[in-house]
Amino acid sequence: MTDTSIARRGGGHASAPSGRPRRSHRPQKASGLNPKLIPYVLLIPGVLVMAALLLYPMIQAGIMSFQKVGIPQIRDVNPRPADWVGWENYTKIFENDIFWSALRNTLVFAFVTVSLTLIVGTGVGVLLQQLSKRMSTVLIVGIMFAWAVPPVAQGVIWRWLFDAEAGIVNWALNLLPDFLSTALFGRADWTGVPWLNEAYTVYIALIMTVVWASFPFIAVSVLAGLKSIPNELYEAARVDGSSPWRTFRTITFPLLKPVFAVLTILSIIWDFKVFSQLYVLLNGPTNREAFNLSMFSYAEAFRPPPKMGSGAAIAVILTIILLIVTAFYVRQMIKSEEVQ
């Protein structure tokens, strides 16, 4: 208890007093197995689970994207062999207008949402550190509730908030003074304004939903990172008369760079595949102009008549885009580390 940081770093040793005598025996115990192999042996269970739950379906989806697959091909009672159609699923998708609007929606949404989540999350994280310990704990618990809300429930909550007649959003906008509302949005009367009809406004609602639910994680991660920065650095900065913004830019941000890198990649991955919230906000795959790629893939694959081949092809395209974006970002990250 006296020095927690050491205890944390010690990891396994923390439980150690009684383990000490055993430690001397360890090399003998492991001698039955080549020590070089141990990591691989330990990886086997994880790899098996991943292979069964992730690798196999991924390969299957890849194969299906070149086939015409409907219900007769996948049912378990005398299934029919699937026809190989080559690149047809892909060419058909590229010819489809829905694909291009879905692609645009996915990319713009991911860019805006990742940026907003990181900005809001970092801001909240930095502010949390200024608070007293008790206050920040209360706030962390509070915002983590939003993070813990399941995606479908998030969708339902925001669907109600954005409801045209009974929603609190329109009610609140109506409370604004008319001149302010007109100056900001070009309208004074918000009664019955439908938010969830048009793609543009649906995405405003979706961005709010996702940012609301994902910034707490960023905030808490940033806070944890901030706590690891030695206080001396800030003291030195203060002595030198550095402004808060300059302190953030020259001390906090560079030191937290690895944290930001991980958070950005995670956010990109999460925001590219948002599905449940959009499904609820749209009330199912109804307005196809507001589809993102996940929704388009779902609608193709599972809405009658099911075209699982083209659904799989969209999923493959989504995966490739995600890989490119992530790979690009990881490269950037490694490069900048090397420079340092």
Partner: protein
């Protein structure tokens, strides 16, 4: 179109007999005779077996009572117990997809007649041709099997027929002294009056832009003489750009642009509308009488059947608009292991006594011609009989569901017009091409 002819014939027959003062009682025969008409030979042969049956819709009390009686009778005759599951209409396609793919389907299912071609193309139903030419079922007019017969095999038996009419709040009409509308202009006026008196957020006449939107759009387009597509040779040719279809389409979009229905509810289907109707938020909408028990339940008894009534949808061009020739069928699920037992179930359920009671309890029109004839004098059924006489149908193609529900081609066209993104001509031209592509794929 075949179905149109049938509908005409059946309804004409119904009305004709009614005019003759047909004194036949519509009362179902006592239960005892059912056992005789049902397959007594099967006997307790199936004792101890279980049959899974999917009923579509909500389990309202009369429907539940019907199923309890039918299943008790089935158990008495065959010895098998029936496991009944209710599937709400909007979930039907998803449930069927999951069942057909996963193999955990029912043995027997109810199915909408326009869904039969799609699910036959997915090999989800078993042919039951021999069943339709023997016993009671031989009396069902052969031309009612239009959507059910594919490549010479029958895949489903019509259980009850249904068309849609306008359900309205009779108590509101009485209170506001509105006459039952006979023309489209009177419908608009009535809707406006309801909105003035009952609040701006009330839909005077609800716009349906959801999965079953084409029931409403179709009625309006057909009433102008338009149609979705016609088959020329082996190719579907889209007819959405015809001025006739456009006229109906514009009536349809004018429900929202004219303010009769809220702009924020462009994707609501009949079930969503029904919920709002039960909560005093809708004055009129196009539906069938099976909605009434659901409304009573949804409103927790505040809106009762005697506050509601139907009238045939008036066409904008005068007269009554043709309705969609709808109907519920019953079919044997493709992967069932109890084919014989499933066939017995269908035989019993569609026997004259049970099919007649199915139609009567469910607010549908019976498929047996003489029963239909005796029903035509019923004031509740009269609006439907009128619509039935002019009933039409969507393109009979397995891909229709993709165009009409999944890709929501016309719902999207309507949305882009309502939101002012495209003119009706542009939107319909795009939709026409897409409809042709989907139907001809």
């Amino acid at each position: 179109m075949k179905i149109v002819k049938i509908a005409g014939v059946t309804a004409a027959l119904a009305l004709g007999v009614a005019a003759c003062g047909g004194g036949e009682t519509a009362e179902p025969a006592p239960a005892a005779s059912a056992a005789e008409s049902a397959p007594a030979a099967a006997g307790p042969k199936f004792a101890g077996q279980t049959l899974t049956m999917w009923r579509l819709g909500d389990s309202n009390p009369p429907a539940q009572a019907y199923m309890d009686d039918l299943n008790a009778e089935f158990q008495k005759v065959t010895g098998a117990t029936v496991k009944l599951e209710w599937i709400p209409w909007p979930q039907v396609n998803d449930k069927f997809t999951a069942a057909a793919a996963g193999g955990a389907g029912p043995d027997v299912t109810e199915i909408g007649n326009d869904q039969v071609p799609l699910w036959v193309s997915q090999e989800a139903l078993s042919p039951i041709t021999p069943l339709t030419s023997a016993g009671d079922q031989a009396q069902i007019p052969k031309n009612l099997f239009g959507l059910e017969t594919i490549d010479g095999e029958v895949y489903a038996v019509p259980w009850g027929a249904g068309t849609r009419a306008v359900l309205y709040r009779k108590d509101w009409f009485d209170e506001l002294k509105i006459e039952v509308p006979k023309t489209w202009d009177e419908v608009t006026a009535a809707a406006k009056k309801i909105q003035d008196e009952k609040g701006k957020d009330v839909d005077g006449f609800a716009f349906n832009g959801g999965s079953d939107a084409n029931h409403l759009l179709g009625a309006m387009a057909w009433s102008e003489g338009g149609d979705y597509a016609v088959k020329e040779g082996d190719k579907w040719v889209g007819k959405l750009t015809d001025p006739t279809f456009k006229a109906g389409f514009e009536t349809y979009t004018s429900l929202v642009t004219g303010g009769l229905s809220g702009k924020s509810r462009l994707t609501q289907n009949t079930v969503d509308i029904r919920t709002r109707f039960a909560n005093d938020k809708v004055g009129m909408y196009l539906t069938a009488s099976w909605d009434i028990p659901g409304i009573e339940t949804d409103s927790k008894g505040k809106v009762k059947a005697d506050q509601l009534a139907f009238f045939p949808l008036p066409a904008k061009s005068g007269g009554e608009a043709p309705a969609f020739f709808g109907g519920n069928d019953i079919a044997v699920w493709g992967t069932t292991k109890n084919t014989e037992l499933a066939n017995e179930y269908i035989k019993l359920a569609t026997s004259k006594q049970w099919a007649d009671r199915y139609a009567k309890d469910g607010g549908l029109l019976p498929v047996y011609p003489d029963t239909l004839a005796s029903l035509a004098s019923d004031p509740v059924q009269a609006p439907f009989a009128a619509a039935f006489a002019k009933a039409r149908s969507f393109p009979a193609d397995p891909n229709w569901t993709e165009a009409g529900e999944t890709k929501a081609v016309l719902q999207n066209a309507a949305r882009s017009v309502i939101e002012g993104k495209a003119s009706a001509d542009e939107a319909l031209a795009t939709a026409n091409k897409e409809l042709e592509d989907i139907l001809n794929q």
